[in-house]
């Protein structure tokens, strides 16, 4: 059996999420609702790209190819990102709600990983803690503002976005075949534990924003991404993201 298979699978899941959400969020650059928000959201996207790079670097130390090769040359089936990050940016309500749900999960995941027995990951978690805190501050502020202090339209649009994003967001926590092994080795407590903490965290924020949390019982989480089955949105994204790299893979940047 492949050495470090469980660890690598975990790292690919996190890294691919970060890379694809970074690309999606960066699509707002130049189009943000106002200049200052454009700068903030673009900067957040850039942070995510940095996180993915750091994770691909860790994978490289475990025998995987170099970061650029890993990011830009794999075909779709080898990506381990969840469907949530693949969806087009939509309107700003969708992108903000995705940012809120994804980043809260990201924050809690890295919070858990600070105690990981795999030290490179624990060190990275500590290193990026401040960045993610700003991302959370940004997301929570907008959810509260547009849900509670905005207009009827902003409230309705945020509720619509919440209903649309939730099934996709639950796909973040698609369990892998390695859950027990990762938990037993003290590397990561598991997706189930993460999802519980995530719900405990987002529900009060959603309610404070005057939004209604849909009942989870009737929702089918968007699973498949962690096993390489993706939405039809991923392939065009990868084609665009790797376009320049493929012209000359040996180019020095």
């Amino acid at each position: 059996m492949n050495e470090h298979a469980a660890l690598k699978d975990l790292l690919y899941r996190i890294a691919d999420d970060e890379l694809i959400i970074a690309h999606r969020n960066s699509e707002w650059t130049g189009l943000g609702p106002i200049l200052e928000e454009d700068i903030a959201f673009s900067s957040i996207a850039q942070d995510k790209l940095g996180h993915s790079h750091a994770l691909y670097e860790i994978l490289h130390t475990l025998g995987e190819p170099e970061a650029d090769t890993t990011a830009f040359t794999r075909d779709e089936r080898r990506f381990r990102c969840c469907h949530l990050v693949e969806y087009p940016i939509g309107a700003y309500d969708f992108s903000l709600m995705r940012h809120f749900m994804f980043d809260t999960a990201e924050h809690l995941r890295f919070d858990m990983l600070e105690h990981s027995t795999f030290e490179p990951l624990a060190r990275l978690a500590v290193k990026i803690r401040g960045e993610i805190r700003y991302h959370i501050f940004h997301a929570n502020t907008w959810i509260a503002q547009l849900g509670m202090q905005g207009s009827e339209e902003s409230h309705a649009r945020m509720q619509g976005a919440l209903n649309d994003v939730l099934p996709l967001a639950l796909g973040i926590f698609e369990p892998s075949e390695f859950e027990e092994e990762l938990a037993a080795d003290g590397i990561f407590p598991g997706e189930k534990a993460l999802q519980e903490r995530w719900l405990e965290t987002i529900v009060p924020t959603v309610e404070r924003a005057g939004l209604r949390m849909p009942g989870l019982a009737a929702i089918t989480p968007a699973y498949g991404g962690r096993r390489g089955f993706h939405t039809s949105y991923l392939a065009p994204l990868l084609a665009e993201m790797t376009e320049v790299f493929r012209i000359d893979p040996s180019a020095e940047w």
Binding site: G30, L31, P33, I34, L35, E36, E37, I39, A40, S43, Y134, F137, H138, T141, Q145, Q149
Partner: protein, 128 residues
């Protein structure tokens, strides 16, 4: 023909392609401005670093962090509504002028360095 743009700020202005007279945005269409101050290190004085548009103080802080604390070291940030700052403008700069020969009215007019050193020396000696 109105100019169609992906940028909502342009689309909203409904500019004609023929180029009409310069338009004015209706009142309250633009957010208020806030002035941003930052602290480079703990205990330093806040320094004015610029301004930004925001609908309220929470969002102003959100924007200030990325606009003004992204590329330099910063430990704290303040925002103040521009409208809340009262000023004597540069047009009235002459009211700060004073006639020559009145150094005694300025802090640098006092020569106390020597006295202070002597006092400290005496005090330290008596403490020993």
């Amino acid at each position: 023909m109105k100019i169609q743009s992906l940028d909502p700020r342009i689309a909203r202005a409904e500019l004609s392609e023929e180029g009409e007279a310069p338009f004015t945005l209706p009142p309250l269409d633009q957010y208020e401005t806030y002035e941003v101050f930052h602290l480079a290190v703990r205990g330093a004085q806040p320094v004015h670093v610029g301004s930004l548009h925001a609908p309220n103080p929470e969002i102003a802080l959100l924007f200030a962090k990325e606009q003004y604390a992204r590329r330099s070291k910063c430990v704290s940030i303040w925002v103040v509504r521009t409208a809340d700052i009262h000023a004597i403008g540069v047009d009235d700069a002459d009211i700060f002028e004073t006639t020559p020969g009145k150094d005694y009215r300025e802090a640098r007019g006092y020569r106390v360095g020597g006295k202070l050193t002597a006092f400290k020396r005496k005090n330290m000696a008596s403490n020993e």
